[in-house]
């Protein structure tokens, strides 16, 4: 009898712990975190221009290449050399590296050539530490989110190196309402040097 009670007690404790943990995850879903990204092999398309339009070029490029090389669908990210580029609304011409993951078996692009506006490369991204935030809403609000991330990074004892990435989870191709866009914002970070 006591054995049965202890089993049920244990199960109840586990269920409550899971519930509490999941509630915590739910509450912190829109808060920044620090995490390490694992190494991946990627196809990178470097495109210059207004991000409003270069993303379309990137999507078309990746779609065509994926069909030609029979690659499985993958999420796409856009990398800026510095997060200031996203924050500065005045400048509308940036060089952005759009990337998607590819398998190790893909070693060459075969007959696929670069165009005047798109430069293609197969690259390996090594593990990196990033601060990550899930941003829900239009791209115009991203600069505010970056500010929030910078404060968080400082509070955590890290500093942003400058490199900035957006991972497009829900974007204009699949959702009309900009309020429902979901973008993962990633700022590459490194631990602060201890002060003497």
């Amino acid at each position: 009898m006591s054995g049965k009670i202890s089993q049920w007690t244990l199960l109840t404790i586990l269920l409550i712990a899971t519930l509490v943990y999941n509630l915590q995850i739910y509450e912190q879903r829109d808060e920044p975190i620090i995490r390490t990204l694992t190494a991946t092999k990627e196809l990178v398309a470097t495109i210059s221009g207004d991000p409003e339009y270069t993303i379309d070029t990137a999507l078309i490029t990746f779609h065509s290449i994926s069909r030609l090389l029979r690659l499985s669908p993958s999420i796409i990210s856009g990398r800026y050399a510095h997060f200031d580029q996203r924050q500065n609304d005045q400048i509308r011409k940036h060089t952005i590296e759009y990337a998607r993951s590819i398998p190790e078996t893909l070693t060459s692009l075969g007959a696929i050539k670069n165009t005047e506006t798109v430069t293609l490369k197969i690259k390996r991204r090594e593990p990196v530490i990033v601060s990550e935030l899930l941003h829900t809403g239009p791209y115009e609000n991203i600069p505010q989110a970056i500010e929030e991330m910078l404060q968080f990074i400082d509070a955590q004892g890290y500093q942003a190196t400058g490199a900035y990435e957006e991972v497009y989870l829900v974007f204009e191709r699949i959702e009309r309402d900009p309020e429902k866009f979901k973008t993962l914002l990633r700022l590459r970070v490194e631990p602060n040097q201890p002060r003497n």
Partner: protein
């Protein structure tokens, strides 16, 4: 499985030959385990009660799963390891790992043990089907139906793919490999079908066994790279059952069955080896102990060896074989000790041991 995991570490360093070896092995190595498990099952329901069956499954599958995962939790804290994408550099990542392992049934600290959870669910499916569906329809019909359901679920029910746990923003749900257990059950039923058809008894002579092995592997060799997806995991151009990433719905079962039959052919050729018999009887522990190599040694060894083997097909193969053989040899002392002193903890709850008494009474 050992070879596949050794080669995976080489592949992650950017080796093209390793990527093809990986794709070749992964096209059939896990389906084989489901087929072999089904081969040992029965179509007719046993007289076991639900309570007895669940108790037996808990002791023979969940207990080893929990123990072998627990074995690696503390070393993971101190030794750099392959964390399969879960960020274990912080306490929150670690906590997530614990929840994933013990609540969600996805073993991030000892990944190879996912099969224990998956086969547990497959055996529960079979227990139910033995008493219901299999009385009305043939195993072949059920096998096809289950495969179709499994195939669609793997692609469309991604919300129930346990790899979601690797993202720090996803909820911990009781995944318990249920999604992949559907496909796993179709291979399990295939094992049952070839058993009922007495397929293996057709291969008594060495020539026939050799022919089975050669034809099986020839089919895999000719077809494994035709499977170009679409894969659920876009970064892997290979069948990865733990992530329900199968690729082409026809080429996947074709290579899986051909490779499994080929390996059964090899098994029949080598069935007189006592060492292999011993290893075969302890597959579950071998699975679980592979976690030690998968998480801690395969990656550093691959980094050491990669300058020499990087782009050579044959050297990659030789390296894979040597490390596989060494890893298997290292498991043997642990296997002997566990089989002798604690068989109850490694999936044999009915056995009486010198330290722990049997966990279940066989007479009940």
């Amino acid at each position: 499985m050992y070879y596949g995991h050794v080669i995976e570490s080489v592949m992650k360093l950017g080796s093209e030959p390793a990527a093809f070896h990986y794709k070749f092995i992964y096209s059939f190595h896990m389906p084989l385990f489901f087929i072999l498990s089904g081969y040992l099952a029965s179509r007719q329901p046993s007289n076991e009660s639900w309570t007895w069956f669940l108790k037996k499954q808990t002791y023979s599958r969940l207990l080893p799963y929990a123990l072998f995962s627990a074995l690696l939790i503390i070393p993971t804290c101190f030794i750099p390891s392959n964390t399969v994408g879960l960020d274990l550099s912080s306490s929150s990542g670690y906590l997530r790992g614990l929840f994933s392992t013990y609540i969600a049934g996805f073993p991030v600290f000892n990944v190879p043990t996912w099969f224990l959870i998956c086969i547990l669910v497959v055996e529960i499916f079979h227990f139910i089907c033995q008493r219901s569906v299999l009385r009305k329809i043939s195993p072949l019909t059920l096998c096809v139906l289950v495969y179709v359901v499994g195939s669609f679920s793997a692609w469309y029910a991604t919300w129930f793919n346990p790899l979601r746990l690797l993202s720090p923003r996803e909820f911990v749900l009781p995944y318990f490999m249920i999604l992949e257990a559907i496909t796993g059950y179709s291979f399990y039923l295939f094992g049952l079908i070839i058993k009922d058809a007495q397929f293996v008894s057709q291969f008594k002579s060495v020539q026939r066994q050799l022919l089975l092995a050669l034809i099986g592997f020839a089919i895999v060799y000719l077809t494994y790279d035709l499977n170009k997806g679409m894969f659920v995991l876009s970064g892997y151009d290979a069948v990865i059952m733990v992530g329900s990433s199968h690729g082409h719905p026809i080429l996947f079962p074709l290579t899986a069955i051909a490779g499994s039959l080929g390996l059964i052919g090899v098994g029949l050729l080598l069935c007189r080896s006592n060492v292999l018999k011993f290893l075969g009887a302890n597959t579950l522990v071998i699975f679980a102990l592979n976690g030690v190599f998968y998480h801690f040694t395969n990656d550093p060894l691959a980094r050491l060896a990669s300058p020499w083997i990087q782009n050579s097909d044959s050297l990659t193969f030789v390296y894979g074989l040597i490390v596989t053989a060494m890893s298997l040899l290292l498991t043997i002392p642990a296997l002997i000790l566990l089989t002798k002193y604690a068989p109850q903890l490694i999936g044999k709850p009915l056995k009486q041991g010198p330290i722990i008494s049997r966990l279940m009474d066989p007479s009940r």
